[in-house]
Amino acid sequence: MDRRKFLGVGLAAFAALVAPVAELHAIDFRATKPKAWQAEKSAEAIKEMFGTAGLKKTDKIKFTAPKLAENGGSIPINIKSELDLETIAVFQDANPRSLTAVFTVPKNGIVNYDFRIKMRQTAFVTVVAKARDGVLYTMSQEIDVSIGGCGG
């Protein structure tokens, strides 16, 4: 019993030691950039998130979204790129606050994310991506949301 207890403690202690190391990679942008999450408009939110540096338009990051969304509650979006990116943030102007999601790309990670967002009205969706060399890329697309569609 003692031995088992000892082993149990050992494992727990080990887990406690390992966990923070893994956690170190994870950045909680809600803690580091609290103001960005409160901003109502995209321009403001981008400024809070990435500072005032100039944004570069690019076609090297592919951002796919339906032009007309039948169901505003679930709009599929895909972001794909060959560039070495560090952070990808998604903003929209359809909801009370702008910042929707921030992806942290691990080193040597593949940038190919699919996810779904909610939009209450027709608006622009803007993606801002920070490359590992510090350059900020951006692109945006207007998504038409049909209100009261069958998907609701």
Partner: protein, 100 residues
């Protein structure tokens, strides 16, 4: 309550992952309208062999029951993929799945 739904498939060096998490994703305004408690996932972290392979900070403007698809390098069949989600009420949930 509900389980995380995770699906990971190794193809050569690349693992393709699909994951769906259960949450109403209701921000303050939406929750007021629906007369429920605000509940949304704020952060999702996916780890493989102790390395973070997927990480996203989210808000209540993601669709209900958020679904993500992504890819990462270096995973093999049979290895484990782990996800941890944290929501705005501080609830932490974890889920695991073997790579197929």
């Amino acid at each position: 309550m509900a389980k995380m739904k995770i699906k990971a498939k190794a193809k050569g060096d690349i693992v393709k992952v699909k994951a769906m998490f259960t949450s109403l994703m209701a921000d303050k305004e939406e929750a007021e309208k629906k007369k429920i408690k605000s509940e949304y996932i704020t952060q999702i972290v996916g780890t493989h062999n102790g390395n973070v392979v997927f990480e996203v900070t989210t808000s209540g403007f993601m669709a209900e029951n958020p679904l993500f698809k992504f890819q990462f390098k270096g995973g093999k069949k049979g290895e484990k993929l782990e996800f941890t989600t944290t929501d705005n009420n501080g609830k932490i949930e974890t889920g695991k799945k073997k790579i197929k």
